[in-house]
């Protein structure tokens, strides 16, 4: 191991450096000049995002605890882009009197969770995986409770923290059994272990699955999600529902495909059931919501169900479609959250009925939200269509009748989802309102954020090299 090896950890190290710079800046600036911290952090993060795209080498570090692979790098870049958009949308939040004092804390905590995710994504053993997971969760609970002035925010924080404690307990129990049964916690060792699958193995798988299903908010392990999403500040919600979920989905896929690839007979049926449950329950709950954040929370639960369709195939293509969908989802959901956060921050309105007649006063925002929702619903020409279609393709590629039926169920669920995705559209465009949200100018950062997401939403779909690169990177994951 030499110094160059650290370049493999470029994403993480740069981010740690940025975190420290923010910390130092907080200490070094006087109270009156604190307002530069947020833009500073944003700029630094933008630089970090760009650095992430520089070509890099791949390899393994620390005795296999840290892996750097093409697909890892891609996922990290996707997460970076997502976080960049979240940060852009968050800028406005720091203008308010209440939050002005905690800007740097916000960034430090947020960046820490991102570092955790990076390590989780790159993990080569369950220890790093677990540590990453916890880093990505515990501080997030604090972020959810960021708004001190609000009951809901505190409630969201405690709900997230306690439920994640339970779930990580279960997950750990599963890992301990895996360790007992196989003698190692390193992915490599577990892949190549040759063993028959006993009840204990299955138990380990299921407990691990439950813990990850919690992170991904899959039914029936999803119940925390809606409450937390609703209570947390809108930017944290978007971070939770997009970035955190994306990272978890990726590593979940990797672990299933590598460590548990011998168990496919077990986890595939399990995932089959959970996928169906998740889509149906998520959609059914989303139907009735009026609060925009809660609405998107349930919609994102249902989206996770769709994501499983890609995972279930167990092929490189399946993994590629999952990563691709994460990318699509980053742009689409963040665009939706972006509009919602702009509206909430400028007017304090948070419900769908508040949107009534908004197109006539704020046409651009309305169009952006409409496109985002269409993308989530999987309607062309935006990327969501491609994402969903590929997921279905991946699920169908298994070729069994059962899988076709799964695809059919998923497709029928898209109809339900279309219904509720159209509700805000209806509110904005069709419903009449005597006093719609008045015209306002959104701040520059948020506009940039929206612009990035919208561009992404269009480009990701039509530009096929994106998908092709992801797919190319997905080959070579052990076990595929």
């Amino acid at each position: 191991m030499n110094l160059q090896s650290f370049l493999l950890m470029r994403h993480e190290l740069v981010l740690i450096a940025i975190t420290l710079i923010v910390l130092i800046a907080e200490l070094a600036t006087s109270d009156s000049r604190k307002s530069i911290i947020a833009p500073l952090a944003l700029c630094l993060f933008a630089v970090h995002t760009i650095i992430g795209f520089l070509p890099m080498e791949y390899g393994s570090l620390f005795g296999g605890m840290f892996n750097s692979t093409p697909i890892n790098g891609m996922v990290k870049n996707i997460l970076n882009i997502g976080v960049l958009i979240v940060l852009l949308q968050a800028q406005k939040m720091f203008d308010s009197e209440i939050n002005r004092g905690k800007v740097s804390e916000y960034f430090i905590v947020l960046f820490s969770t991102l570092i955790g995710m990076f390590y989780m994504v790159s993990a080569g053993d369950f220890l790093m995986f677990y540590i990453g997971l916890e880093i990505a969760t515990i501080p997030l609970a604090a972020l959810a409770a960021f708004n001190r002035g609000e009951n809901k925010s505190a409630e969201a924080g405690i709900k997230l923290l306690l439920s994640s404690a339970l779930s990580s307990g279960v997950l750990l129990y599963g890992l301990s059994m895996l360790y007992a049964a196989n003698g190692s916690l390193f992915f490599d060792a577990l892949i190549h272990g040759n063993y028959e699958i006993t009840h204990l193995h299955t138990l380990a798988l299921i407990f691990f699955f439950a813990g990850m299903a919690f992170k991904l908010s899959l039914v029936p392990f999803h119940l925390w999600a809606a409450d937390v999403y609703e209570g947390a500040p809108v930017n944290v919600t978007s971070y939770l529902s997009v970035i955190s979920k994306g990272a978890a989905a990726f590593i979940f896929t990797v672990v299933l495909y590598t460590v548990f690839h011998n168990y496919a007979d077990k986890w595939q049926p399990m995932m089959y059931i959970i996928a169906i449950l998740t889509m149906i329950v998520g959609n059914l709950f989303a139907l009735r919501q009026n609060n925009l954040k809660r609405f998107l929370a349930f919609s994102s639960i249902a989206q996770a169900g769709f994501l499983l369709l890609g995972i279930i195939s167990g092929t490189a293509m399946g993994m590629a479609t999952v990563v691709y969908y994460i990318l699509v989802y980053v742009f689409s959901n963040l665009a939706a959250f972006g509009v919602i956060s702009i509206i909430e921050m400028h007017t304090g309105k948070t419900t769908i009925s508040d949107l009534n007649g908004m197109y006539r006063t704020n046409p651009k925002l309305s169009l952006a939200l409409m496109l985002a929702l269409f993308s989530l619903a999987g309607i062309p020409p935006v990327a969501g269509f491609f994402g969903k279609f590929f997921l279905f393709t991946a699920a169908a590629s298994v070729g069994t009748t059962a899988n076709y039926i799964l695809v059919l169920i998923a497709l029928l669920n898209t109809i339900i989802s279309l219904y509720y995705y159209l509700m805000p559209v209806k509110a904005m465009f069709i419903n009449k309102n005597d006093s719609p949200i008045a015209y306002f100018k959104s701040d520059v950062y948020a506009k940039i954020g929206l612009a990035i997401s919208l561009t992404g939403m269009v480009v990701v779909g039509f530009a096929s090299p994106i998908f092709e690169n992801i797919l190319a990177a997905c080959f070579g994951i052990v076990g595929l």
Binding site: L166, V170, T202, I206, A210, L223, M270, L287, R288
Partner: protein
């Protein structure tokens, strides 16, 4: 010989229709009238020329008048063998029909210039007349079944438009609707018949269809064997085709539209509903006569009986009607029944094809005198402003020309010796007598009834009581009386055309002689009918009222046309459109649509009913989390191994 010029006969009216129709109001009325008349006049002249060329210049080949395809082009291809062509066929019956149609049409055009004078839709009327002439001529010269069907539909629609000419009058609208729908229903049979026939023969073309050898082959082929309800498929096909003809020709039981169609302007009634369109059915059967006669005698029997029943039925009803045009309408129906009957009793062989010729003969003479009757009636209505015979009486003083011409037509239709009707009727009766006694008896009865009701009409209009008129009726203008006179001429002399020389089923002329043994008794019967009418209606008398009272039940039934209309109305309006259609509409909204909405409702319901899952209690979340994990552990450890 180049016959292509015959195309002009058909295209001229079409051009006129388009010109007048598109220019519509921007064209002066006078010009439109003149243009329409001139174009049909030209067509008339061309027809005369064609007839002359066909019968006298081109003449017979191999002892028979041949079918000549003057023009033919492919219009639409279905399969390699089945294709619709548009063309012009010339043979004795089509040339004869060309003459009849253009003659009557020309007369009606001239007449309409006066009759329709000052009407708001004068131009529209003329464009429709041209459209009708075009369609009717196209029908006549059709080279194949499908072309016939095409123009068949077109005459139907022109008839619809013309009946509904007074579109602001609800009764006119209803009548036009009824006419169209009834004939449409009949056409359905026609269409299916065409489909059946063409599927077995592989062609629509008349020339191919009516080749006796081909028919012979057809008779040998499979369809004769395949039978349905005891009749061969070819018979069914031809019966269905005849159904179309029956609809257009107002044969029982598809006649219900004809009386109502009298809502149209009278010239229209004369042209379409007396002389030309309504005989299309007869023409259709005549056109396909070889197949009927050779391959499907059963179908021909049906034709015969339908004709016989219709003629009797209509004649009976005509005796009781008061609306002058309706009487004429029923009379038309009765006479067409006669023609059908004549076709039915004919055969496709030498010596026994008198009926065919008689039918065509009667078609021609009937066209002349019936058009005359209608135009005369129009003249009367024009003067009296009423259709009801009750409002008329003693008109001979006021309208001498009308009186005389109408009188000629009356005598002609009654079969007064020497006039056209006498000869044509006689031939029909002879043919019937030779073939089928019951039908002959019916025909004789009808002859008597015809004489009676026509005389009833004639006497009560021109003689009878002296009615008081609001303003004194006066003779119609020249434009109306001249056509009356011309037609009167034809009504008298058309009977002297030697039809057996020209128009026969095989194309070969045959010798025919006058049958005094039939003519004398029938003429006597006709005189009896006229006599009774004279007694009853020449002077105002109480007797008719007494008779009706005595036979009140029978009379009412007949007066209401045997309640056929009511039965139809019940079946269509009440059952089909009332119950069935409403039920379907209801079913669609409340069952099928409701099912679709039901999906949404159920989804919503489930959504509401599971909302308790999201209780907000973190410990319940935990419990569900744990139960989920345990459930999967149970399932995948113990059940799903």
């Amino acid at each position: 010989m180049d016959w292509t010029y015959t195309l002009a006969i058909i295209l001229l009216p079409l051009a006129t229709f388009l010109t007048i129709g598109l220019l519509d109001k921007s064209m002066p009325n006078k010009l439109a009238g003149v243009l329409g008349t001139a174009s049909i006049g030209t067509a008339f002249l061309l027809s005369c020329y064609t007839a002359y060329q066909y019968f006298f210049v081109h003449g017979m080949v191999d002892g028979a008048y041949q079918k000549i395809v003057a023009f033919n082009m492919e219009w639409l291809r279905f399969t390699d063998t089945l294709h619709i062509d548009l063309g012009v066929i010339l043979d004795p019956i089509s040339v004869m029909m060309l003459m009849v149609v253009t003659t009557v049409s020309l007369m009606v055009h001239i007449y309409s210039n006066g009759y329709m004078h000052g009407e708001r839709g004068f131009n529209k009327f003329f464009s429709f007349l041209s459209l009708f002439s075009f369609s009717m001529l196209g029908l006549v010269v059709a080279t194949n079944l499908f072309q016939m069907y095409i123009f068949w539909e077109l005459v139907g629609v022109s008839s619809f438009l013309l009946i509904g000419y007074y579109y602001e009058k609800p009764s006119a609208v209803a009548a036009s609707k009824k006419a169209f729908i009834t004939t449409r229903f009949a056409d359905l049979g026609f269409l299916i018949g065409i489909l059946l026939l063409s599927w077995y023969t592989g062609t629509f073309d008349f020339t191919e269809l009516t080749q006796t050898t081909a028919i012979g082959g057809l008779a040998m082929a499979m369809p004769m064997g395949t039978s349905f309800l005891g009749l061969s498929i070819v018979s069914w096909a031809l019966i269905l085709i005849f159904m179309g003809g029956a609809g257009k020709s107002a044969m029982f039981p598809l006649h219900i539209w004809l009386p109502d169609a009298m809502e149209g302007p009278t010239p229209v009634s004369a042209l379409i509903h007396a002389a030309t369109m309504v005989v299309a059915g007869v023409y259709l059967v005549a056109r396909l006569f070889p197949i009927y006669a050779i391959a499907a005698p059963d179908a021909l029997t049906v034709v015969m009986w339908v004709g016989a029943i219709s003629s009797l039925f209509a004649a009976i009803i005509a005796c009781t009607q008061y609306d002058i045009k309706r009487v004429l309408a029923f009379s038309t129906m009765s006479q067409i029944g006669y023609m059908m009957l004549a076709l039915g009793v004919s055969q496709y062989s030498e010596g026994s094809n008198l009926g065919f010729t008689a039918s065509m003969f009667h078609l021609t003479t009937h066209a002349m005198f019936k058009a005359l009757l209608f135009l005369g009636a129009g003249s009367i209505i024009h003067a009296v402003h009423s259709n009801s015979m009750l409002d008329m009486g003693g008109l001979r003083k006021y309208m001498p020309i009308t009186f005389v011409t109408f009188g000629i037509a009356w005598l002609a239709i009654c079969g007064f010796p020497g006039l056209s009707g006498f000869f044509s009727k006689d031939e029909i009766l002879v043919a019937a007598m030779q073939h089928n006694t019951p039908v002959f008896i019916i025909a004789v009865i009808v002859a008597g009834l015809t004489a009676f009701y026509m005389s009833r009409l004639f006497f009560s209009v021109f003689f009878g009581k002296n009615t008081h008129y609001h303003h004194t009726p006066h003779e119609s203008p020249k434009t109306m009386t001249i056509p009356l006179m011309i037609l009167a001429f034809f009504a008298v002399f058309a009977g002297y055309i030697p039809f057996n020389e020209f128009v026969t089923s095989t194309g070969e002329p045959f010798h025919s002689h006058f049958h005094w043994n039939v003519a004398i008794p029938v003429t006597l019967i006709a005189f009896i009918g006229m006599g009774i009418a004279f007694v009853l209606y020449y002077k105002e008398s109480e007797i008719p009222t007494k008779v009706t009272k005595a036979l009140s039940w029978v009379y009412t039934t007949i007066f209401h046309k045997f309640y056929i209309d009511e039965i139809y109305l019940f079946v269509t309006k009440k059952i089909l459109f009332g119950i069935v259609a409403r039920f379907i509409a209801w079913f669609d909204r409340h069952v099928i649509d409701a099912t679709m909405n039901g999906f949404a409702i159920v989804t919503n319901y489930v959504s509401v009913s599971i909302k308790g899952l999201q209780s907000g209690q973190i410990q319940k979340y935990g419990l569900i989390f744990l139960s989920g994990a345990i459930f999967f552990a149970l399932v995948f450890i113990y059940l799903f191994v």
